[in-house]
């Protein structure tokens, strides 16, 4: 696991994962929308001992800048062992309901960009004959909720996408969907923290263990699997009334 390609490399979860992998010989190709922030992440990984950390800024919603960045990454590094997609935001449900432009921008960044990048990478991985693809979903994708169903919809889109991509790429390449519960990161800075919140470092450990086990879908921390199993079997009529 030495050559790592990341979309949304400034994400707290992606950073925690990369820091733990920043050993001699590790090469990172960091993509995101903000070049100055990407530089900060790259310098951190270099200080920790990585062999290389290159950054590429991608213009939001511009496929050709994404394509150029991915292809250049493969050209410069030769290959990647892992593609990690951590880009995404948690928009205000209320604002999304009233602003159609916001809704499409959100879907572009949190679902479309990721699928586009994964498809570019899939071609390369097929050619390589290996390489793991890890996409960050969320427990919110398991069931629609009154308070965040736009966010949940993007995450469940990623789940269905992963299911199909997995059929295409396995067994050579595992396609792993990681579904964290709430994590204390800038994305949730405005939320009141409670005991259900996990840390980016714990999610990073769950991602690594999923890769080693070549798991298909993992919850992070693991106990969300049981919580969501219960929530998923709740009858629709009951859920409709919960509105939580």
């Amino acid at each position: 696991m030495k050559h790592i390609l990341v979309l949304g490399a400034t994400s707290a979860i992606a950073q925690a994962f990369c820091r733990a992998r920043a050993t001699p010989g590790a090469r990172f190709w960091l993509m995101g929308r903000n070049e100055a922030r990407l530089r900060i992440v790259a310098d951190d990984l270099m200080a920790r001992g990585a062999a290389a950390a290159d950054v590429r800024a991608i213009e939001p919603g511009n496929f050709s800048s994404l394509k150029t960045a991915v292809e250049e990454g493969f050209r410069v590094n030769g290959r990647f062992d892992l593609f990690l997609a951590a880009q995404g935001s948690l928009p205000s449900q209320d604002l999304c309901e009233g602003d159609p432009g916001l809704l499409s921008k959100f879907f572009q960044a949190s679902a479309v960009d990721i699928m586009q990048a994964a498809l570019l990478v899939a071609d390369k991985f097929e050619h390589q004959g290996d390489g793991a693809c890890v996409i960050l979903g969320s427990v919110a994708g398991d069931r629609g909720r009154r308070t965040n169903y736009v966010y949940g919809a993007a995450k469940s889109a990623l789940e269905t996408f992963c299911e199909g991509l997995r059929q295409r790429l396995e067994p050579a390449s595992p396609v792993i969907l990681v579904k964290p519960g709430p994590v204390d990161t800038p994305m949730t800075a405005h939320l009141q923290k409670n005991a259900l919140f996990s840390s980016p470092e714990k999610v990073a450990v769950a991602i690594m263990s999923a890769i080693q086990r070549r798991a298909a879908v993992v919850y992070a921390p693991f106990y969300w699997r049981w919580i969501m199993m219960l929530i998923k079997i709740l009858p629709r009529r009951l859920v409709k009334r919960l509105r939580a």
């Binding site: 100055a36 900060i40 310098d43 920790r48």
Partner: protein, 437 residues
Amino acid sequence: MIGHEKTFYSWGGKVTSGSHGEELVWRGDPLPAGARPRLAHGLGRSYGDSCLLNDGCIVETQRMDHLIAFDSATGVVRCEAGCTLAKLLEFCVPRGWFIPVSPGTKFVTMGGCVANDVHGKNHHRAGSFGCFVTRFGLRRSDGAERECSPENHADLFRATIGGLGLTGIILWVEVRLKPIRSPFIRQRTEPLRGINAFFEVARREEAHFDYSVAWLDATHAGTPRGVFIAGNHAEENHAPHFPRSSPRCSVPLTLPDFVLGAWSIGLMNAGYYAANALHWGESRVGYDGFFYPLDAVAHWNRAYGKKGLAQYQFVVPMEFGPEALRETLGKAQAARQASFLTVVKLFGAIPSPGLLSFPRPGVTVCFDFPHLGASTERLLDDLDRTVFACGGALYPAKDARMSRESFERSFPRHREFKELIDPACSSNFARRTGLTA
């Protein structure tokens, strides 16, 4: 910047009112706009109110924790101000380097260590944290980032070390780490009986140990007793050491006030003494256990109940040391106020670059009282009289009560400092002591 209404706490249980929290995640991001005063906040490990600001904007720095550069030949590391000592240790110890000066907890930020110019068990040999800071980046309310060092913006360099967060927001810090050969400490403990014993043992042993401190049982009737603890980094490498990245257990909620009453504190002091008495002499311990014994229990401050705890730390010149220690211990006993941890240490003569640096040659004593309200306040006022009669000073990191007069007596260079305060910065401490409006 991500902002929202939020209440902030200090380690001694002080809280803010009307404060707004803004997270500074990236060092290139602009500071919060608007006319409200602001203050940087690390992990809130200061006991009093120097890390708090009512009706203002508190800039939270703990997510801003990137390394910027590390030179493995010289051990010079540059990292962002929100990086904690815990995270830095995880990085540097496996590479053979250690934090040059460390307070009694590793859950503090680099910015907090600079702003309080913290001291550790090696003050007699090394000086304070500020002595190892080579430069730092400071963002003031004019928006510009300044790189401060002894050569560059030297006035702001001196004012920010020990500057209580009032000179601007520290974005990053560069320090010289200390080379080590092993993550272990060769520790020596020795029983102490009486005040004079402390001074004798400390003076005799200091020449042989990088680190030294003494704990006194202030609840013991009769001759004060205690434990002298000293150590050096072990020379050779032994079995791998796995430091704690998070506490082993936690006090989940604030305990009722009677739990840490005079009685139970006396009992615990006796227990601590007895535990040490089992193995006087030399032993090899991990650095976590030697430097950060309290970190094993998260939120241990909650054990002090709703009113929290009142720390009281002072320094007096060496010649008044025995007298001041005897008198303050006596006053605490007479007032029937039990101090859980009473720590005594000799400060050395290495000067800090900081204008408001607390450490100075002499003896420092730190009491740890449960806050019992008016009776505790009265006792602390009485202790002040001893401290100032001896020409001493109080430590702002542990303080929530010192008056403007006490502050100005403790820090004779306060006028020079005032000129360099960032007009947008303030804190509850600064308002009380007349540093800011």
